[in-house]
Amino acid sequence: MANMNLYSRGDRMFVWLNMFLIGVFALSTLYPFIYIAAISLSTGFEARAGNVVLTPVELTFAAYKYILVEPAFWRSYLNTFIYTIGGTLMSLAFIIPGAYALSRPQLYGRRFWNLMVAFTMWFNAGLIPFFLNFRDLGLLDSYFGIIIGFAVNGFNVILMRNFFEGIPQSFEEAARMDGANDFQVLWKVYVPLAKPAIATVALFCIVSRWNGFFWAMVLLQDQDKVPLQVFLRHTIAKLSDDQEFSDTLFTQAYSAETVTAAIIVCSIIPVLLVYPFLQKYFNKGILLGGVKE
């Protein structure tokens, strides 16, 4: 499918139509972000009046000033970093050795252990038992609870295991003949060879940790421990029916809308920064790796 010059008239029309439709879809994907950015940079009055469409009206950084001096915002930002980094490392610490063991033919009961992982993807006890269990374990309202409680996910284990299974067994055997024990085989041979899969799993973990909201909301009461997403939610909910904001509308340069938009922008920026790296991995269709046994 190389050269459009070789296409017939009808084919060229078809291609242009496709590009047009894709362009429309892409713009409609992009637009809400631009819109939010524009609102965050407009005055509260203009935003409230519905005058912001594409670009900031009466450019101001008031909403950012309002949010950036808020200690709770920074606190939750820091918390999100703690949960994301701690949680991802914890996930890898469970998943890499576990998946390696599951991939070894010499493991007794291998089918059983694999089934034990797969079953959790087909059946889960649901919100209530999970919550009660968390409470019974004394993990409510703790950093450690959030970090360990969501460390493992069957899909990631199986993705990792499949990758290990695809590495020829002779690497393990060669390393064994060289005198390596299982930990050394894993650490010095299989982990370096599994870098793409580890990166993929790590990215899955990072994304889900960064965006994680529901359980953080349910399991954390202490506002000093909540992550950004929960802070965001509280703030959005609070602002939308806060009398103070309506009253100050004409004296302040910000409003509920502009502050909400500013928080949204602040929390998207890190995602946009790592997004190019994500792209590289997801484009390769690695995501398909977990979809077969």
Binding site: R48, F130, A151
Partner: protein, 321 residues
């Protein structure tokens, strides 16, 4: 030396062999590290996923925090009777199926369409940049997406009402109107996920042999014909598998997003089983009753998933996991 002819079969020997127990001990001595690697994972699974399954028994109990799960008295199917007598639960169940169904009907074809369209784009730069854009919302948290939706649909400031205003329409308070909830929720879902889901189909299209297209070109087929005669039939197995997966996960409505978007005024059309469980259990503390609803949900989901898996195994010889 002389030539030995060692052709006689030797089936057993007189050498003492380790007993079964000794072999197991040898195995553990040699391979204990493998088990040491597995144990944390297994303990985690037991502690965080299997122990709650044991806790599911409260669905059949009169659970009290003070007595704990095991000591609470059994009451049989009482919670289930209450459940099916509850108008709210039946409504939630109906909403779950309706929302899932519409999500499937409108959401499923979209990524396929996108993939087919991407496939026709020759300009690599255009294709790469549009793909980059449409994958993006997948990586944005539901809180942010909900925040955007709330802002965009807000009655005074929202762009949607602004645009409606240009046409002289009165502002609509979208998020408080039950009839608008489902279109907004499902539309948001498509907007967020369709691009990313197209990756699967793009991968399938990339796997189609180029010689098929080349011979079609020689036969004078148009791009439109090639799409219908080559591309679509080639990715049909992938489409079927994805369809089966989606049907298997039919009950998995993204309730997180619903929690973020609904309000009492829209419960009528928005409340699904999981949001029902969340309110009854986690917000009102009726753990046993909510667990019963959860168990019902989990069992139906399990049946759907297993059914889907066995169907896909039969027809494509690839299982989903």
């Amino acid at each position: 030396m002389t030539v030995e002819n060692v052709d006689k079969p030797v089936e057993t020997s007189s050498f003492a062999q380790p007993t079964r127990v000794q072999r197991i001990v040898d195995h553990l001595k040699r391979e204990w590290q493998i088990y040491a690697m597995l144990i944390p994972l297994v303990i985690w699974l037991l502690l965080f996923l299997y122990k709650p399954m044991y806790g599911l028994q409260i669905a059949f109990k009169d659970y009290s925090i003070f007595r704990g799960i095991t000591a609470s008295p059994w009451i049989g199917f009482e919670h289930f009777h209450t459940l099916f007598g509850s108008e709210q639960f039946v409504r939630a169940l109906r909403n779950t199926f309706i929302i899932s169904f519409y999500t499937l009907v409108f959401g499923f074809p979209m990524p396929i369409l996108l993939a087919l369209m991407f496939n026709e784009v020759l300009n690599q730069w255009f294709r790469k940049s549009t793909q980059t854009i449409v994958y993006l919302p997948h990586f944005i948290s539901s809180v942010i997406i909900a925040g955007i939706v709330i802002t965009a649909f807000s009655p005074s400031a929202g762009i949607v009402n602004t645009v409606l205003g240009w046409f002289g329409a009165d502002p609509i308070y979208f998020l408080t109107k039950p009839e608008w909830f489902r279109p907004i929720f499902i539309g948001t879902g498509i907007w967020q996920e369709a691009g990313f889901q197209s990756i699967v189909y793009l991968a399938a299209i990339a796997g189609v042999s180029p010689t098929l297209y080349e011979s079609a070109v020689v036969d004078g087929a148009s791009r439109w014909q090639m799409m219908w005669k080559i591309t679509i039939p080639s990715i049909l197995p992938t489409i079927l598998i994805m369809l089966i997966i989606r049907i298997g996960n039919l009950l998995e409505v993204s309730f997180e997003m619903i929690i973020l978007l609904y309000q009492p005024a829209t419960y009528e059309t928005a409340d699904v089983v999981n949001t029902f469980i969340y309110r009854q259990g986690l917000q009102s503390g009726q753990y046993d009753f909510a667990a019963a609803a959860g168990l019902f949900n989990a069992v139906i989901a399990f049946i759907l998933v297993m059914g889907a898996n066995s169907i896909s195994k039969r027809y494509s010889r690839t299982s989903l996991w």
